[in-house]
């Protein structure tokens, strides 16, 4: 029995490879930048790349580990982006140390997105499959549309909210409108950079991987594999569904803060926080392998970089995504194709040949 226990660190090694991969890529990119080998275009992509990677890892927690499809992930990113940027802008003169302010902004973004994940998850997570997908999509769109119509101002009397226009905020003369409806937040401090992005990717990885390999993670995965059995052995299904969903939302919020602090201004448009974004993140997760954390990192990086590198392909990029997505689903899940793969697997083929020899 002793030696069996010793074999435990296999997942540990697996995780180490994932961390190592991220760190090595980071070091290589830094080296290339210092030698001037990285184009401006590519440098501009580094932070968005980290944003996508965090989004993909966090969505994989819901889709791959909890086993429920969410089509509203961009909505949580939106909440993180706005709450983080709002905090930074309000605190710009109060907390002058950038590092402290930005760290707090990230925590604020994660907290807000996490709380919304919890509040939305409570009524919604009783649904499964198609219904959950469409309900999360609905919530994502609601968030985006409400934020798009939201006006928030601050004056000596405190915060003022409106869904109509900045006039109806009724600000005092010294007041300042911070969130301007469809214009969003203008003049966010650009605190994000590649190093911060990578650190956040590593923290996300740390949280998700360690969660998976803990008591709570096993409970979450047991719900994915068989909800009824899970209840029958005393797992609090509601609690763990909510836990996975809220952590996933909070991490999407972190990605949002990173995103909004990489721009001069942030506005809620269908393109950045709409369900098309949610679906793009889902594509990363699916192509990287549902439940495979390392896979979603690689998919997010490759699928973002490849079309940029091959500029001519850019028009076809989404089309190629779509075709690959359909092909992957058929290849990995079609019962007939699975049966065929079982019969014609390379391992079997090699084994048979060895036997013959």
């Amino acid at each position: 029995m002793k030696d069996k226990l010793k074999k435990m660190p296999k997942t540990w090694l697996d995780n180490l490879i994932t961390y190592g991969m991220v760190i090595i890529v980071f070091l290589l990119v830094q080296m290339f930048i210092s030698r001037g080998l990285v184009s401006n275009l590519l440098q501009g992509l580094l932070v968005p790349l980290c944003v996508y990677v965090i989004l993909a890892i966090s969505l994989n927690l819901t889709v791959g580990i909890l086993g429920e499809l969410s089509l509203g992930h961009a909505g949580f990113m939106c909440i993180g982006a706005f709450s983080g940027a709002f905090f930074s802008k309000v605190m710009a003169d109060i907390i002058t140390v950038t590092a402290v302010r930005f760290t707090l902004a990230i925590l604020v973004g994660a907290l807000f997105a996490g709380v919304f994940g919890f509040l939305i998850g409570m009524p919604v997570l009783r649904f499964r499959g198609d219904y959950l997908a469409i309900v999360t999509l609905a919530f994502g769109e609601i968030i985006k549309n409400v934020v798009n119509a939201l006006f928030v101002g601050v004056d000596s009397r405190g915060f003022h909210f409106s869904l109509k226009d900045s006039m109806s905020l009724g600000l005092e003369a010294d007041g300042d409108v911070i969130i301007k409806g469809a214009l969003g937040i203008i003049g966010t401090p650009r605190n994000s950079n590649f190093t911060v992005g990578i650190v956040l990717v590593l923290i996300t990885l740390f949280i998700v991987l360690n969660l998976i390999n803990s008591r709570d993670g096993r409970a979450i995965m047991s719900i994915r594999d068989n909800l009824i059995a899970s209840e029958s052995i005393g797992i609090n299904v509601t609690k763990y569904k909510l836990m996975a969903f809220s952590i996933s939302a909070a991490l999407a919020g972190v990605a949002g803060v990173l995103y909004s602090h990489n721009l001069n201004s942030v506005a809620a448009t269908p393109k950045n926080f709409g369900y098309n974004m949610s679906i793009m993140i889902l594509v990363f997760v699916v192509l990287g392998g549902i439940g495979n954390i390392r896979g979603s990192i690689i998919a997010a990086v490759v699928l973002t970089l490849l079309p940029e590198m091959l500029r001519g392909l850019n028009n076809y990029r989404m089309l190629i995504y779509a075709v690959v997505l359909i092909a992957m689903m058929l290849f990995n899940w079609s019962p007939q194709i699975l049966a065929w793969r079982e019969q014609h697997s390379i391992k079997d083929f090699l084994r048979k040949r060895r036997k013959v020899q």
Partner: protein, 295 residues
């Protein structure tokens, strides 16, 4: 008061379009137990075909409409055959849903490559003028009348088809129990194909009506109405044909009233809230039935 009546009529008209689209969702969901996410994009393909026929090729409108319906039916059958049928019996319903999202993506991007991202202006096919009531206080456009009448005709025909014909009865049987239907000698695959064909044909009609009333056309035209029509189907009770009609019209009215009295952005929020509230209060919708997993 007068404006309220106008809004209601517009709402019923928009709702009729939703109802026609919702039929496609509800039939496919009832029979293949899948959410065909790409259904909304078939609408877009239908509209683009008519646009291409009339505005780019100068075809006769009737010919264009027939062409559009035929193309959408073919498209629906092809999608089912290539992307969905191989996944029948797959372990998880997520798999089919993600594939359907892939198909939706595919259709949007094909349209993007062919027609570009710019919004096209769609020429309405309805050439009879508006009807004026109460000394011109209420004006009902030709599109509105055509949409409501088309929707009613479709509902009646479809109900008769399912109640009175053999393929219609086969659909009912397959939606009830696929395995048993197969044992009774019903061609399950054929029935599912037929369902997709009808749903896609209706989507083409819905697309043409939608773009006649709201004449702007882009590769993304179909996705939002598609999602809203799905909400309508859930609202009315998924799997139920009268439910699709009721859900569609209620949703259309809610949306138009919300747009008129609150704001156009909040109208969408309200529509999505309706979905969430309906699901929380009565998950089976107005006319739906309950399903439970066997332990």
């Amino acid at each position: 008061m007068i404006s309220l009546i106008t809004y209601l009529i517009n709402g019923i008209s928009l709702g009729s379009v939703y109802a026609i689209i919702a039929l496609g969702y509800t039939m496919v969901y009832g029979i293949a137990k899948m959410l065909n996410f790409a259904h909304g994009d078939v609408i877009m393909v239908g509209s683009f075909t008519v646009f291409w026929g009339i505005s780019m090729q100068g075809f006769n409108p009737v010919l264009s409409v027939l062409l559009s319906i035929a193309l959408c039916i073919t498209l629906g059958i092809t999608i089912e055959f290539i992307a969905y049928r191989p996944l029948r019996g797959a372990a998880s319903s997520l798999v089919v849903l993600i594939t359907a999202i892939g198909v939706s993506y595919f259709l949007q991007n094909i349209a993007l490559l062919i027609f570009g991202a710019n919004t096209k202006s769609f020429t309405s096919l309805i050439n009879f003028g508006p009807v004026r009531l109460f000394e011109g206080q209420i004006i009902i456009s030709g599109e509105t009348i055509a949409t409501i009448i088309t929707c009613l005709i479709i509902m009646v025909c479809l109900t008769l088809f399912i109640k009175k014909t053999k393929p219609g009865q086969a659909m009912l049987a397959v939606s009830e129990d696929k395995g048993a239907a197969q044992l009774m000698g019903i061609n399950v695959n054929g029935t599912i194909t037929l369902t997709f064909a009808i749903g896609s044909g209706l989507a083409a009609i819905a697309g043409i009506l939608l773009c006649s009333a709201y004449p702007s056309l882009s590769p993304y035209t179909g996705s939002m109405p598609g999602i809203k029509a799905f909400i309508a189907a859930v609202f009315g009770g998924i799997g139920s044909i009268p439910g699709a009609l009721i859900g569609g019209i209620l949703l259309g009215v809610i949306e138009i009233l919300g747009r008129a009295y609150i704001s156009s952005q909040m109208a969408d929020v309200i529509v999505f809230m309706v979905l969430i509230i309906v699901l929380l209060v009565k998950p089976t919708g107005i006319l739906g039935r309950k399903l439970q997993e066997k332990v």
